[in-house]
Symmetry: C2
Subunit: 255 residues, 2 copies
């Protein structure tokens, strides 16, 4: 299978490496910045270019791994006949690709890709959507090179999953950041919390999260909650977050 | 070393098993409920009892692994001469143990213990505090049977760590619960998010969390934030939490 990439950022880099390592031929890597295109192309034996007109039209798949806004720009500039064209966005409808080709779809993984940090690709989940059944089948054939964790999700499901991903990634990170800030303020090494963070994350696999809630909020242990609120008295931002999360647990998460 | 346990719940069970497996003799296990005492005592070759007066006074260490409120009750009932007495609470001052013995302190692990779920004890962090240097040294000698991750924390630090633990455990679990709820509502298997949850948790070891923030809040990507807010329009609780966390990231967590 011959695959070309429009974009050379984190997602493009990981997908191109994963497909290259599993026997796909990467033809072209396009980027606005030639040195960026060159960097990724060099790693996967592809041809770098900054000109969409130079793309080898015989490639089977074109993957638009660019920012959400750039997908819309590309849809104005790129015209393909029958090649499969995919974007990699969790938040964007596949219909924006309709002007580019008759065969279009989405290949999105709910993961944060960091350029030089290896991932177990075989463990990565991929959410796919095609403009019709045969296209969706072709996308699945492509993704099977990388992973067997393939989910068929429509636009609404993908949007909701993108939102859920913000909760378990960005917002969870924000809580880790709050905890790190509290530790730093009191000269406590943050590493003390590493095993708790790890076991908490592992236990999501146990099933319904509501059954696993522990701590003062779910017990409505006012003494401990009040003690925590006193510790946060000088930090209205963190205090308000503490109250909001305690309220959510008491009203929505516990049984 | 001879150790007795007051309490037979999750923390007592894990500590008793860990110490027993590493060569300590567990003498007595006290519980208000004889069958509970018997259950744990049977697993560690100890004697079950419901009567504090029956405790073997020749034990070197007495560990009060009971609820915070029960620690105060015990301090009224239990009198030891020179044995080391410890509680296992993150939120309670060690001074409540002063009436019990001349040698007292704290042995607390920031972890949620579930009775029949094995833990890598050698990886567990323990926060210790003793009423004086020699007592603190004795506590360290005891804990070294189980783990080398030993931290000397005073009461204020332990309280703050307890608060930080609520953020990375209870509150993070609440966010997992929100994500699970969103997935369930839209017929999406929650397992799609397992690898994202795992990598997010692993990356706390990379250092300053603020440098690792990604997503719409830190980018101030209004288009995506507005799309997410529309998805939550029918759920004022989750919408208000979304706004609160977005605000915290924008005002406090990003650079």
């Amino acid at each position: 299978m011959k695959v070309s990439f429009i974009g050379s950022g984190n997602v493009a880099t990981h997908l191109a490496l994963a497909l290259h390592n599993h026997g796909c031929t990467i033809c072209d890597v396009w980027s606005r910045d030639y040195s960026h295109a060159q960097l990724l192309a060099g790693r996967v034996g592809a041809r770098p270019t900054t000109n969409l007109d130079n793309l080898d039209r015989t490639a089977d798949v074109f993957i638009l791994a660019v920012s959400d806004d750039a997908i819309f720009d590309m849809a104005l500039d790129l015209r393909l006949d029958s090649a499969l064209v995919l974007h990699t966005s969790g938040a964007t409808s596949m219909e924006v690709l309709k002007p580019i080709s008759q065969r279009y779809g989405v290949l999105w993984s709910p993961q944060t890709f960091v350029r030089d940090v290896a991932l177990e690709y075989a463990e990565l989940p991929f959410c796919i959507e095609g403009c019709n059944k045969s296209t969706e089948h072709d996308i699945e054939t492509l993704v099977k090179h990388i992973s067997t964790h393939i989910y068929h999700t429509n636009h609404e499901q993908r949007q909701c999953l993108h939102l859920a991903a913000v909760f378990v990634n960005n917002f969870t990170n924000a809580l880790y950041g709050v905890a790190q800030n509290i530790c730093n303020q009191h000269d406590i090494p943050f590493e003390v919390l590493y095993t708790l963070i790890a076991t908490t994350a592992q236990r999501v696999k146990w099933g319904d999260i509501r059954y696993q809630m522990t701590g003062p909020a779910v017990r409505d242990d006012r003494k401990t909650i009040d003690a925590h609120r006193r510790l946060l008295a000088n930090d209205p931002d963190f205090l308000s977050l503490y109250d909001e999360l305690t309220r959510i647990i008491q009203q929505r998460i516990r049984f």
